[in-house]
Protein backbone atom coordinates (compact mmCIF):
# COMPACT_ATOMS: atom_id res chain seq x y z
CA UNK A 1 0.00 0.00 0.00
CA UNK A 2 2.85 2.35 0.82
CA UNK A 3 4.55 1.61 -2.49
CA UNK A 4 1.29 2.28 -4.29
CA UNK A 5 0.83 5.56 -2.49
CA UNK A 6 4.35 6.74 -3.22
CA UNK A 7 3.98 5.77 -6.86
CA UNK A 8 0.78 7.80 -7.14
CA UNK A 9 2.53 11.03 -6.29
CA UNK A 10 5.84 10.46 -8.04
CA UNK A 11 4.76 9.34 -11.51
CA UNK A 12 4.81 11.90 -14.31
CA UNK A 13 2.26 10.10 -16.44
CA UNK A 14 -1.21 10.52 -14.91
CA UNK A 15 -2.32 7.12 -16.19
CA UNK A 16 0.52 5.50 -14.25
CA UNK A 17 -0.61 7.42 -11.17
CA UNK A 18 -4.16 6.15 -11.62
CA UNK A 19 -2.90 2.58 -11.89
CA UNK A 20 -0.84 3.01 -8.73
CA UNK A 21 -3.99 4.33 -7.06
CA UNK A 22 -5.79 1.14 -8.09
CA UNK A 23 -3.00 -0.90 -6.48
CA UNK A 24 -3.35 1.22 -3.34
CA UNK A 25 -7.10 0.67 -3.21
CA UNK A 26 -6.70 -3.08 -3.62
CA UNK A 27 -4.19 -3.07 -0.77
CA UNK A 28 -6.76 -1.13 1.25
CA UNK A 29 -9.27 -3.91 0.56
CA UNK A 30 -6.82 -6.46 1.90
CA UNK A 31 -6.35 -4.35 5.04
CA UNK A 32 -10.11 -4.47 5.53
CA UNK A 33 -9.88 -8.25 5.20
CA UNK A 34 -7.23 -8.36 7.89
CA UNK A 35 -9.56 -6.34 10.14
CA UNK A 36 -12.20 -9.08 9.83
CA UNK A 37 -14.48 -7.04 7.58
CA UNK A 38 -14.90 -9.13 4.41
CA UNK A 39 -18.04 -7.33 3.25
CA UNK A 40 -16.33 -3.94 3.28
CA UNK A 41 -13.37 -5.43 1.40
CA UNK A 42 -15.63 -6.85 -1.31
CA UNK A 43 -17.58 -3.62 -1.68
CA UNK A 44 -14.30 -1.67 -1.81
CA UNK A 45 -13.14 -3.75 -4.77
CA UNK A 46 -16.45 -3.48 -6.60
CA UNK A 47 -17.03 0.22 -6.11
CA UNK A 48 -13.63 1.82 -5.73
CA UNK A 49 -11.32 -0.27 -7.86
CA UNK A 50 -13.90 -1.41 -10.37
CA UNK A 51 -16.15 1.63 -10.64
CA UNK A 52 -14.65 4.88 -9.44
CA UNK A 53 -11.18 4.22 -10.83
CA UNK A 54 -12.63 3.36 -14.23
CA UNK A 55 -14.31 6.76 -14.28
CA UNK A 56 -11.07 8.40 -13.10
CA UNK A 57 -9.32 6.76 -16.02
CA UNK A 58 -12.02 7.97 -18.41
CA UNK A 59 -11.41 11.56 -17.38
CA UNK A 60 -7.63 11.23 -17.46
CA UNK A 61 -7.64 9.67 -20.87
CA UNK A 62 -10.05 12.11 -22.43
CA UNK A 63 -8.15 15.18 -21.24
CA UNK A 64 -5.66 16.29 -23.85
CA UNK A 65 -2.30 14.58 -23.49
CA UNK A 66 -0.09 17.29 -24.96
CA UNK A 67 -1.10 19.84 -22.42
CA UNK A 68 -0.25 17.49 -19.58
CA UNK A 69 3.21 16.74 -20.91
CA UNK A 70 3.95 20.36 -21.62
CA UNK A 71 3.22 21.50 -18.08
CA UNK A 72 6.43 21.94 -16.20
CA UNK A 73 6.52 19.91 -13.04
CA UNK A 74 7.43 22.03 -10.06
CA UNK A 75 7.85 21.51 -6.34
CA UNK A 76 8.59 24.94 -4.97
CA UNK A 77 6.57 24.39 -1.80
CA UNK A 78 9.01 21.90 -0.38
CA UNK A 79 9.62 23.95 2.79
CA UNK A 80 5.97 24.04 3.75
CA UNK A 81 5.68 20.37 2.79
CA UNK A 82 8.48 19.35 5.13
CA UNK A 83 7.02 21.42 7.97
CA UNK A 84 3.56 19.85 7.49
CA UNK A 85 4.96 16.31 7.28
CA UNK A 86 7.05 16.84 10.42
CA UNK A 87 4.03 18.19 12.30
CA UNK A 88 1.91 15.21 11.24
CA UNK A 89 4.66 12.77 12.15
CA UNK A 90 5.07 14.43 15.54
CA UNK A 91 1.33 14.14 16.11
CA UNK A 92 1.43 10.41 15.31
CA UNK A 93 4.38 9.85 17.65
CA UNK A 94 2.63 11.77 20.43
CA UNK A 95 -0.53 9.69 20.11
CA UNK A 96 1.47 6.48 20.06
CA UNK A 97 3.62 7.22 23.10
CA UNK A 98 1.21 9.15 25.30
CA UNK A 99 -2.03 7.33 24.50
CA UNK A 100 -0.95 3.71 24.82
CA UNK A 101 -4.17 2.66 26.53
CA UNK A 102 -6.35 3.20 23.46
CA UNK A 103 -4.54 0.43 21.59
CA UNK A 104 -5.63 -3.05 22.70
CA UNK A 105 -3.00 -5.44 24.05
CA UNK A 106 -3.71 -8.39 21.79
CA UNK A 107 -5.68 -8.74 18.59
CA UNK A 108 -9.36 -8.68 19.42
CA UNK A 109 -11.20 -11.93 18.68
CA UNK A 110 -13.60 -10.50 16.13
CA UNK A 111 -16.07 -12.70 14.36
CA UNK A 112 -16.13 -12.32 10.62
CA UNK A 113 -18.76 -14.83 9.64
CA UNK A 114 -21.69 -12.50 10.08
CA UNK A 115 -20.00 -9.27 9.12
CA UNK A 116 -22.54 -8.62 6.36
CA UNK A 117 -25.51 -9.29 8.61
CA UNK A 118 -24.19 -7.04 11.36
CA UNK A 119 -23.47 -4.20 8.97
CA UNK A 120 -26.99 -4.53 7.56
CA UNK A 121 -28.59 -4.55 11.00
CA UNK A 122 -26.68 -1.47 12.09
CA UNK A 123 -26.98 0.42 8.82
CA UNK A 124 -30.73 -0.04 8.46
CA UNK A 125 -31.46 0.13 12.15
CA UNK A 126 -29.32 2.46 14.14
CA UNK A 127 -27.74 4.53 11.38
CA UNK A 128 -30.76 4.76 9.07
CA UNK A 129 -30.71 8.55 9.16
CA UNK A 130 -27.08 8.73 8.02
CA UNK A 131 -27.86 6.25 5.25
CA UNK A 132 -30.74 8.36 3.95
CA UNK A 133 -28.71 11.57 4.18
CA UNK A 134 -25.88 9.97 2.22
CA UNK A 135 -28.25 8.87 -0.50
CA UNK A 136 -29.70 12.40 -0.61
CA UNK A 137 -26.16 13.72 -1.06
CA UNK A 138 -25.62 11.36 -3.99
CA UNK A 139 -28.92 12.49 -5.50
CA UNK A 140 -27.80 16.13 -5.28
CA UNK A 141 -24.52 15.21 -6.98
CA UNK A 142 -26.32 13.42 -9.80
CA UNK A 143 -28.70 16.32 -10.37
CA UNK A 144 -25.77 18.74 -10.36
CA UNK A 145 -23.93 16.65 -12.95
CA UNK A 146 -27.01 16.48 -15.18
CA UNK A 147 -27.56 20.23 -14.91
CA UNK A 148 -23.94 20.95 -15.77
CA UNK A 149 -23.88 18.58 -18.72
CA UNK A 150 -27.20 19.43 -20.30
CA UNK A 151 -27.22 21.89 -23.15
CA UNK A 152 -30.61 23.36 -22.37
CA UNK A 153 -32.59 22.86 -19.19
Amino acid sequence: MLIGGILVITRKNPVHSALALIVTLLAQASIYLMLYAPFVAGVQIILYAGGIMVLFLFVIMLVSIDRVQKERQFNSQWVVGIIAATALGGLFMAVYTKGKDIFPEHALPMVENDNTQRIATMLYGQYMFAFEIASLLLLVAIIGAVVMAKKKI
Binding site: N13, V15, H16, L19, I22, P38, F39, A41, G42, V43, I45, I46, A49, G50, G51, M53, V54, L55, L57, F58, M61, L62, E112, N113, D114, N115, T116, Q117
Partner: protein, 422 residues
Protein backbone atom coordinates in the same frame (compact mmCIF):
# COMPACT_ATOMS: atom_id res chain seq x y z
CA UNK B 1 -0.66 -42.18 0.22
CA UNK B 2 -3.76 -43.97 -0.94
CA UNK B 3 -5.30 -43.59 2.50
CA UNK B 4 -4.57 -39.86 2.37
CA UNK B 5 -6.36 -39.60 -0.96
CA UNK B 6 -9.22 -41.76 0.26
CA UNK B 7 -9.58 -39.85 3.51
CA UNK B 8 -9.91 -36.66 1.56
CA UNK B 9 -12.51 -38.04 -0.82
CA UNK B 10 -15.05 -38.33 1.98
CA UNK B 11 -14.48 -34.92 3.54
CA UNK B 12 -17.36 -32.56 4.01
CA UNK B 13 -15.64 -29.26 3.45
CA UNK B 14 -14.03 -27.42 0.60
CA UNK B 15 -10.24 -27.55 0.72
CA UNK B 16 -10.00 -23.84 1.39
CA UNK B 17 -12.26 -24.09 4.41
CA UNK B 18 -10.30 -27.09 5.65
CA UNK B 19 -7.04 -25.22 5.20
CA UNK B 20 -5.54 -28.01 3.14
CA UNK B 21 -2.95 -26.45 0.82
CA UNK B 22 -2.17 -29.58 -1.15
CA UNK B 23 -5.74 -30.18 -2.21
CA UNK B 24 -6.22 -26.48 -2.88
CA UNK B 25 -3.37 -26.67 -5.37
CA UNK B 26 -4.77 -29.84 -6.91
CA UNK B 27 -8.18 -28.20 -7.32
CA UNK B 28 -6.63 -25.08 -8.80
CA UNK B 29 -4.77 -27.20 -11.35
CA UNK B 30 -7.90 -29.20 -12.17
CA UNK B 31 -10.04 -26.11 -12.62
CA UNK B 32 -7.40 -24.37 -14.71
CA UNK B 33 -7.01 -27.40 -16.96
CA UNK B 34 -10.75 -27.79 -17.22
CA UNK B 35 -11.14 -24.14 -18.16
CA UNK B 36 -8.43 -24.34 -20.79
CA UNK B 37 -10.08 -27.37 -22.35
CA UNK B 38 -13.48 -25.71 -22.10
CA UNK B 39 -12.24 -22.58 -23.84
CA UNK B 40 -10.68 -24.57 -26.67
CA UNK B 41 -13.89 -26.55 -27.01
CA UNK B 42 -15.84 -23.28 -27.06
CA UNK B 43 -13.85 -21.90 -29.97
CA UNK B 44 -14.56 -25.04 -31.98
CA UNK B 45 -18.19 -25.20 -30.91
CA UNK B 46 -18.79 -21.55 -31.73
CA UNK B 47 -17.55 -21.92 -35.26
CA UNK B 48 -19.46 -25.15 -35.85
CA UNK B 49 -22.73 -23.97 -34.33
CA UNK B 50 -22.63 -20.59 -36.08
CA UNK B 51 -21.90 -22.39 -39.32
CA UNK B 52 -24.76 -24.82 -38.90
CA UNK B 53 -27.09 -21.93 -38.10
CA UNK B 54 -25.96 -20.31 -41.34
CA UNK B 55 -26.53 -23.53 -43.34
CA UNK B 56 -22.88 -24.28 -43.91
CA UNK B 57 -20.48 -26.72 -42.35
CA UNK B 58 -17.76 -24.84 -40.51
CA UNK B 59 -14.26 -26.21 -40.02
CA UNK B 60 -14.10 -29.70 -41.46
CA UNK B 61 -10.55 -30.06 -42.67
CA UNK B 62 -8.15 -29.80 -39.79
CA UNK B 63 -9.24 -32.86 -37.87
CA UNK B 64 -12.29 -35.06 -38.20
CA UNK B 65 -15.10 -32.50 -38.33
CA UNK B 66 -12.65 -29.77 -37.41
CA UNK B 67 -11.96 -31.15 -33.94
CA UNK B 68 -8.27 -30.24 -34.12
CA UNK B 69 -9.05 -26.69 -35.25
CA UNK B 70 -8.51 -25.12 -31.79
CA UNK B 71 -5.03 -26.64 -31.67
CA UNK B 72 -4.24 -25.20 -35.08
CA UNK B 73 -5.59 -21.81 -33.98
CA UNK B 74 -3.51 -21.70 -30.83
CA UNK B 75 -0.37 -22.77 -32.70
CA UNK B 76 -0.92 -19.98 -35.18
CA UNK B 77 -1.40 -17.43 -32.43
CA UNK B 78 1.72 -18.56 -30.62
CA UNK B 79 3.86 -18.31 -33.71
CA UNK B 80 2.71 -14.86 -34.80
CA UNK B 81 5.00 -11.87 -34.59
CA UNK B 82 4.64 -9.88 -31.39
CA UNK B 83 4.21 -6.24 -32.37
CA UNK B 84 4.26 -3.33 -30.00
CA UNK B 85 3.35 0.09 -31.39
CA UNK B 86 6.26 2.51 -31.45
CA UNK B 87 4.86 5.27 -29.28
CA UNK B 88 2.91 2.98 -27.00
CA UNK B 89 3.31 2.96 -23.26
CA UNK B 90 5.13 -0.32 -23.00
CA UNK B 91 4.47 -1.11 -19.33
CA UNK B 92 0.73 -0.58 -19.65
CA UNK B 93 0.69 -2.36 -23.03
CA UNK B 94 2.34 -5.35 -21.40
CA UNK B 95 0.23 -5.43 -18.27
CA UNK B 96 -3.24 -4.90 -19.77
CA UNK B 97 -3.86 -8.48 -21.03
CA UNK B 98 -2.33 -9.72 -17.80
CA UNK B 99 -4.95 -7.90 -15.72
CA UNK B 100 -7.82 -9.06 -17.90
CA UNK B 101 -6.72 -12.70 -17.67
CA UNK B 102 -6.10 -12.37 -13.93
CA UNK B 103 -9.56 -10.96 -13.31
CA UNK B 104 -11.21 -13.60 -15.47
CA UNK B 105 -9.47 -16.57 -13.84
CA UNK B 106 -9.41 -15.47 -10.20
CA UNK B 107 -13.19 -15.55 -10.17
CA UNK B 108 -13.13 -19.34 -10.27
CA UNK B 109 -11.80 -19.57 -6.73
CA UNK B 110 -15.34 -19.50 -5.36
CA UNK B 111 -17.33 -21.15 -8.15
CA UNK B 112 -19.17 -24.09 -6.58
CA UNK B 113 -19.08 -27.23 -8.64
CA UNK B 114 -20.53 -29.18 -5.76
CA UNK B 115 -21.07 -28.88 -2.01
CA UNK B 116 -17.42 -29.62 -1.37
CA UNK B 117 -16.11 -29.13 -4.89
CA UNK B 118 -14.96 -25.54 -4.76
CA UNK B 119 -11.49 -24.22 -4.12
CA UNK B 120 -12.83 -22.32 -1.16
CA UNK B 121 -16.11 -21.00 0.09
CA UNK B 122 -15.88 -17.36 1.12
CA UNK B 123 -18.80 -16.02 3.04
CA UNK B 124 -18.85 -13.09 0.60
CA UNK B 125 -18.59 -15.37 -2.42
CA UNK B 126 -20.96 -13.62 -4.79
CA UNK B 127 -19.59 -10.19 -3.85
CA UNK B 128 -16.07 -11.40 -4.58
CA UNK B 129 -17.11 -12.71 -7.99
CA UNK B 130 -18.83 -9.46 -8.97
CA UNK B 131 -15.91 -7.38 -7.73
CA UNK B 132 -13.13 -9.29 -9.39
CA UNK B 133 -14.97 -9.54 -12.67
CA UNK B 134 -15.34 -5.75 -12.61
CA UNK B 135 -11.55 -5.47 -12.50
CA UNK B 136 -11.38 -6.67 -16.09
CA UNK B 137 -12.84 -3.34 -17.16
CA UNK B 138 -9.60 -1.72 -16.00
CA UNK B 139 -7.58 -4.03 -18.21
CA UNK B 140 -9.67 -3.10 -21.23
CA UNK B 141 -9.31 0.64 -20.56
CA UNK B 142 -5.55 0.20 -20.21
CA UNK B 143 -5.37 -1.82 -23.41
CA UNK B 144 -7.15 0.92 -25.32
CA UNK B 145 -4.93 3.59 -23.83
CA UNK B 146 -1.64 1.82 -24.36
CA UNK B 147 -2.27 1.28 -28.04
CA UNK B 148 -1.67 4.99 -28.57
CA UNK B 149 -4.15 5.45 -31.38
CA UNK B 150 -7.57 6.99 -31.19
CA UNK B 151 -9.64 4.12 -32.54
CA UNK B 152 -8.66 1.64 -29.83
CA UNK B 153 -9.00 4.37 -27.21
CA UNK B 154 -12.56 5.23 -28.14
CA UNK B 155 -13.42 1.55 -28.56
CA UNK B 156 -12.02 0.79 -25.12
CA UNK B 157 -13.85 3.68 -23.48
CA UNK B 158 -17.12 2.66 -25.11
CA UNK B 159 -16.65 -0.94 -24.09
CA UNK B 160 -15.85 -0.04 -20.51
CA UNK B 161 -18.81 2.37 -20.31
CA UNK B 162 -21.03 -0.47 -21.47
CA UNK B 163 -19.56 -2.89 -18.94
CA UNK B 164 -19.88 -0.45 -16.05
CA UNK B 165 -23.50 0.37 -16.84
CA UNK B 166 -24.57 -3.25 -17.10
CA UNK B 167 -22.80 -4.09 -13.86
CA UNK B 168 -25.45 -2.01 -12.07
CA UNK B 169 -28.29 -4.06 -13.54
CA UNK B 170 -26.39 -7.26 -12.77
CA UNK B 171 -25.92 -6.19 -9.19
CA UNK B 172 -29.62 -5.49 -8.70
CA UNK B 173 -30.62 -8.86 -10.14
CA UNK B 174 -28.05 -10.58 -7.90
CA UNK B 175 -29.39 -8.74 -4.85
CA UNK B 176 -32.92 -9.92 -5.52
CA UNK B 177 -31.69 -13.50 -5.78
CA UNK B 178 -29.68 -13.23 -2.58
CA UNK B 179 -32.84 -11.86 -0.94
CA UNK B 180 -34.55 -15.16 -1.67
CA UNK B 181 -31.92 -17.05 0.32
CA UNK B 182 -33.15 -15.42 3.50
CA UNK B 183 -36.53 -17.16 3.45
CA UNK B 184 -35.56 -19.73 6.02
CA UNK B 185 -36.24 -20.30 9.70
CA UNK B 186 -33.73 -17.79 11.04
CA UNK B 187 -34.45 -15.14 8.40
CA UNK B 188 -30.75 -14.84 7.62
CA UNK B 189 -29.54 -15.05 4.08
CA UNK B 190 -26.04 -15.74 2.86
CA UNK B 191 -23.69 -14.36 0.24
CA UNK B 192 -21.63 -17.52 -0.07
CA UNK B 193 -22.04 -19.37 -3.34
CA UNK B 194 -22.35 -22.78 -1.74
CA UNK B 195 -24.81 -21.32 0.77
CA UNK B 196 -27.00 -19.96 -2.02
CA UNK B 197 -27.30 -23.37 -3.68
CA UNK B 198 -27.97 -25.00 -0.33
CA UNK B 199 -30.72 -22.44 0.28
CA UNK B 200 -32.29 -23.51 -3.01
CA UNK B 201 -31.99 -27.11 -1.91
CA UNK B 202 -33.58 -26.35 1.46
CA UNK B 203 -36.43 -24.36 -0.04
CA UNK B 204 -37.01 -27.08 -2.57
CA UNK B 205 -37.18 -25.00 -5.73
CA UNK B 206 -34.75 -23.27 -8.01
CA UNK B 207 -34.83 -19.50 -7.57
CA UNK B 208 -35.80 -19.00 -11.19
CA UNK B 209 -39.23 -20.42 -10.36
CA UNK B 210 -39.61 -18.74 -7.01
CA UNK B 211 -42.39 -16.15 -6.62
CA UNK B 212 -43.27 -16.66 -10.22
CA UNK B 213 -42.62 -14.49 -12.30
CA UNK B 214 -40.23 -12.48 -10.14
CA UNK B 215 -37.45 -15.01 -10.17
CA UNK B 216 -37.82 -15.36 -13.91
CA UNK B 217 -37.64 -11.61 -14.49
CA UNK B 218 -34.57 -11.30 -12.28
CA UNK B 219 -32.98 -14.16 -14.20
CA UNK B 220 -33.86 -12.47 -17.48
CA UNK B 221 -32.28 -9.19 -16.34
CA UNK B 222 -29.14 -11.02 -15.31
CA UNK B 223 -29.05 -13.03 -18.54
CA UNK B 224 -29.18 -9.88 -20.66
CA UNK B 225 -26.74 -7.98 -18.47
CA UNK B 226 -24.24 -10.83 -18.48
CA UNK B 227 -24.18 -10.91 -22.28
CA UNK B 228 -23.52 -7.17 -22.29
CA UNK B 229 -20.93 -7.50 -19.55
CA UNK B 230 -18.80 -9.90 -21.56
CA UNK B 231 -19.00 -7.82 -24.74
CA UNK B 232 -20.74 -10.56 -26.68
CA UNK B 233 -23.35 -10.31 -29.41
CA UNK B 234 -25.72 -8.56 -29.62
CA UNK B 235 -23.76 -6.10 -27.45
CA UNK B 236 -20.41 -6.58 -29.12
CA UNK B 237 -19.91 -3.11 -30.51
CA UNK B 238 -16.39 -3.08 -29.09
CA UNK B 239 -15.50 -6.47 -30.48
CA UNK B 240 -17.04 -6.14 -33.90
CA UNK B 241 -15.73 -2.66 -34.19
CA UNK B 242 -12.73 -4.57 -35.38
CA UNK B 243 -14.69 -4.99 -38.54
CA UNK B 244 -16.19 -1.51 -38.58
CA UNK B 245 -13.46 0.71 -37.16
CA UNK B 246 -11.17 -0.79 -34.54
CA UNK B 247 -11.57 -2.29 -31.11
CA UNK B 248 -9.42 -2.12 -28.05
CA UNK B 249 -7.37 -5.14 -29.05
CA UNK B 250 -6.36 -3.87 -32.47
CA UNK B 251 -2.71 -3.36 -31.73
CA UNK B 252 -2.36 -6.68 -30.00
CA UNK B 253 -1.14 -9.62 -32.04
CA UNK B 254 -0.27 -13.21 -31.46
CA UNK B 255 -0.15 -14.39 -27.92
CA UNK B 256 -1.34 -11.15 -26.35
CA UNK B 257 -4.50 -11.21 -28.46
CA UNK B 258 -5.08 -14.81 -27.58
CA UNK B 259 -4.96 -13.80 -23.91
CA UNK B 260 -7.81 -11.35 -24.50
CA UNK B 261 -9.70 -14.02 -26.39
CA UNK B 262 -9.10 -16.59 -23.65
CA UNK B 263 -10.23 -14.19 -20.95
CA UNK B 264 -13.39 -13.33 -22.90
CA UNK B 265 -14.47 -16.97 -23.00
CA UNK B 266 -13.45 -17.49 -19.39
CA UNK B 267 -15.47 -14.46 -18.34
CA UNK B 268 -18.43 -15.92 -20.24
CA UNK B 269 -18.09 -19.16 -18.30
CA UNK B 270 -17.71 -17.21 -15.04
CA UNK B 271 -20.86 -15.11 -15.39
CA UNK B 272 -22.75 -18.18 -16.59
CA UNK B 273 -21.62 -19.91 -13.38
CA UNK B 274 -23.06 -17.00 -11.40
CA UNK B 275 -26.37 -17.32 -13.23
CA UNK B 276 -26.46 -21.09 -12.78
CA UNK B 277 -25.63 -20.85 -9.08
CA UNK B 278 -28.08 -18.11 -8.29
CA UNK B 279 -31.10 -19.11 -10.32
CA UNK B 280 -30.70 -22.55 -11.78
CA UNK B 281 -29.81 -24.47 -8.65
CA UNK B 282 -26.07 -24.93 -9.09
CA UNK B 283 -25.18 -28.56 -8.82
CA UNK B 284 -28.70 -29.82 -8.03
CA UNK B 285 -30.17 -32.28 -10.45
CA UNK B 286 -33.35 -31.22 -12.25
CA UNK B 287 -36.58 -31.52 -10.24
CA UNK B 288 -34.99 -31.86 -6.80
CA UNK B 289 -38.35 -31.53 -5.09
CA UNK B 290 -41.01 -32.69 -7.49
CA UNK B 291 -39.37 -36.00 -8.32
CA UNK B 292 -37.62 -36.81 -5.09
CA UNK B 293 -36.90 -40.13 -3.55
CA UNK B 294 -34.23 -42.77 -3.94
CA UNK B 295 -35.55 -44.20 -7.22
CA UNK B 296 -35.51 -40.85 -9.01
CA UNK B 297 -32.06 -40.13 -7.55
CA UNK B 298 -30.82 -43.39 -9.03
CA UNK B 299 -32.49 -42.69 -12.37
CA UNK B 300 -30.96 -39.23 -12.61
CA UNK B 301 -27.56 -40.55 -11.57
CA UNK B 302 -27.45 -42.55 -14.79
CA UNK B 303 -27.68 -39.42 -16.91
CA UNK B 304 -23.97 -38.42 -16.89
CA UNK B 305 -22.98 -41.81 -18.23
CA UNK B 306 -25.82 -41.79 -20.75
CA UNK B 307 -24.75 -38.31 -21.96
CA UNK B 308 -21.20 -39.42 -22.65
CA UNK B 309 -22.37 -42.64 -24.28
CA UNK B 310 -24.62 -40.56 -26.52
CA UNK B 311 -21.64 -38.42 -27.55
CA UNK B 312 -19.64 -41.58 -28.23
CA UNK B 313 -22.49 -42.94 -30.33
CA UNK B 314 -22.53 -39.71 -32.38
CA UNK B 315 -18.77 -40.09 -32.92
CA UNK B 316 -19.21 -43.65 -34.15
CA UNK B 317 -22.08 -42.69 -36.42
CA UNK B 318 -19.96 -39.98 -37.99
CA UNK B 319 -17.07 -42.37 -38.31
CA UNK B 320 -19.22 -44.61 -40.41
CA UNK B 321 -20.30 -41.63 -42.53
CA UNK B 322 -16.73 -40.49 -43.22
CA UNK B 323 -15.71 -40.57 -46.92
CA UNK B 324 -14.15 -43.89 -47.81
CA UNK B 325 -10.99 -42.57 -49.38
CA UNK B 326 -7.44 -43.49 -48.42
CA UNK B 327 -6.63 -39.86 -47.61
CA UNK B 328 -9.34 -39.84 -44.94
CA UNK B 329 -8.04 -42.95 -43.23
CA UNK B 330 -6.19 -41.10 -40.44
CA UNK B 331 -9.17 -38.86 -39.71
CA UNK B 332 -11.56 -41.80 -39.56
CA UNK B 333 -9.32 -43.68 -37.18
CA UNK B 334 -8.88 -40.52 -35.08
CA UNK B 335 -12.62 -39.99 -34.81
CA UNK B 336 -13.15 -43.64 -33.87
CA UNK B 337 -10.51 -43.38 -31.15
CA UNK B 338 -12.15 -40.23 -29.82
CA UNK B 339 -15.47 -42.07 -29.79
CA UNK B 340 -13.92 -44.95 -27.86
CA UNK B 341 -12.44 -42.47 -25.36
CA UNK B 342 -15.81 -40.80 -24.79
CA UNK B 343 -17.46 -44.20 -24.43
CA UNK B 344 -14.94 -45.25 -21.80
CA UNK B 345 -15.58 -42.03 -19.87
CA UNK B 346 -19.31 -42.76 -20.06
CA UNK B 347 -18.83 -46.30 -18.79
CA UNK B 348 -16.65 -45.10 -15.91
CA UNK B 349 -19.40 -42.65 -14.97
CA UNK B 350 -21.79 -45.56 -14.42
CA UNK B 351 -19.72 -46.87 -11.51
CA UNK B 352 -21.61 -45.73 -8.37
CA UNK B 353 -18.51 -44.65 -6.44
CA UNK B 354 -17.43 -42.32 -9.21
CA UNK B 355 -20.96 -41.25 -10.00
CA UNK B 356 -21.70 -39.99 -6.51
CA UNK B 357 -18.67 -37.70 -6.44
CA UNK B 358 -18.82 -36.50 -10.01
CA UNK B 359 -22.57 -36.05 -10.40
CA UNK B 360 -22.64 -32.55 -8.97
CA UNK B 361 -19.85 -31.41 -11.25
CA UNK B 362 -21.66 -32.93 -14.22
CA UNK B 363 -24.93 -31.13 -13.58
CA UNK B 364 -23.18 -27.83 -12.99
CA UNK B 365 -21.11 -28.20 -16.14
CA UNK B 366 -24.15 -29.26 -18.16
CA UNK B 367 -26.05 -26.13 -17.14
CA UNK B 368 -23.09 -23.88 -17.89
CA UNK B 369 -22.73 -25.63 -21.25
CA UNK B 370 -26.37 -24.83 -21.94
CA UNK B 371 -25.60 -21.18 -21.30
CA UNK B 372 -22.62 -21.33 -23.65
CA UNK B 373 -24.90 -22.68 -26.36
CA UNK B 374 -27.30 -19.80 -25.67
CA UNK B 375 -24.42 -17.34 -26.10
CA UNK B 376 -23.59 -18.79 -29.50
CA UNK B 377 -27.28 -18.84 -30.43
CA UNK B 378 -27.59 -15.13 -29.57
CA UNK B 379 -24.56 -14.38 -31.70
CA UNK B 380 -26.03 -16.19 -34.67
CA UNK B 381 -29.47 -14.69 -34.33
CA UNK B 382 -29.53 -11.11 -33.15
CA UNK B 383 -28.29 -8.03 -35.00
CA UNK B 384 -25.94 -5.76 -33.19
CA UNK B 385 -27.10 -2.92 -30.94
CA UNK B 386 -25.96 0.58 -31.72
CA UNK B 387 -24.07 2.14 -28.87
CA UNK B 388 -26.70 4.66 -27.85
CA UNK B 389 -29.41 1.99 -27.98
CA UNK B 390 -27.17 -0.18 -25.82
CA UNK B 391 -26.64 2.46 -23.13
CA UNK B 392 -30.31 3.40 -23.23
CA UNK B 393 -31.30 -0.18 -22.62
CA UNK B 394 -28.85 -0.55 -19.77
CA UNK B 395 -29.91 2.54 -17.90
CA UNK B 396 -33.52 3.15 -18.92
CA UNK B 397 -34.87 -0.38 -19.24
CA UNK B 398 -32.86 -2.86 -17.20
CA UNK B 399 -32.19 -0.63 -14.21
CA UNK B 400 -35.85 0.26 -13.50
CA UNK B 401 -36.79 -3.36 -14.11
CA UNK B 402 -34.14 -4.46 -11.65
CA UNK B 403 -35.32 -2.00 -9.01
CA UNK B 404 -38.93 -3.06 -9.54
CA UNK B 405 -38.09 -6.74 -9.23
CA UNK B 406 -36.11 -6.05 -6.07
CA UNK B 407 -38.92 -4.11 -4.42
CA UNK B 408 -41.55 -6.67 -5.45
CA UNK B 409 -39.40 -9.61 -4.31
CA UNK B 410 -38.81 -7.97 -0.95
CA UNK B 411 -42.53 -7.25 -0.49
CA UNK B 412 -43.63 -10.75 -1.48
CA UNK B 413 -40.96 -12.30 0.74
CA UNK B 414 -42.10 -10.16 3.68
CA UNK B 415 -45.73 -11.11 3.05
CA UNK B 416 -44.79 -14.77 2.92
CA UNK B 417 -42.90 -14.56 6.19
CA UNK B 418 -45.75 -12.72 7.89
CA UNK B 419 -48.61 -14.87 6.60
CA UNK B 420 -47.11 -18.33 6.72
CA UNK B 421 -44.73 -18.02 9.66
CA UNK B 422 -46.25 -15.41 11.94
Amino acid sequence: MLEYVKSYLTSSQTPGAAGNMFWVLVYILLIFTGLAIAVMLMTWLERKVLAHMQVRLGPMRVGPHGLLQPIADSLKLLLKEDIMPAEADSFIFWIAPFIVVLAAFTVFVVVPFGPTHAITDMNIGILFMLGVSSLSVLGIVMAGWASNSHYPLIGALRSSAQMVSYEVAMGLAVVSAVLMTSLNATGTGTLSMIGIVQAQQAQGEWFIFKFFPLGLIAFFIFAVAMVAETNRAPFDLAEAESELTAGFHTEYSGFRWSLFFLSEYTAMIAVSSIAVTLWLGGWLRPFPNLLNGAIWDKAFSFLPGIAFLFLAAMCFYNTVRMPKHPLFRVQTIGLAVFGVFLGLVGLVLFVPAVSIRVQDIFWFAAKVAGFMYLYIWYRGTFPRYRFDQLMQMGWKVLLPMGLGVLILTASVALLQQKLWHP
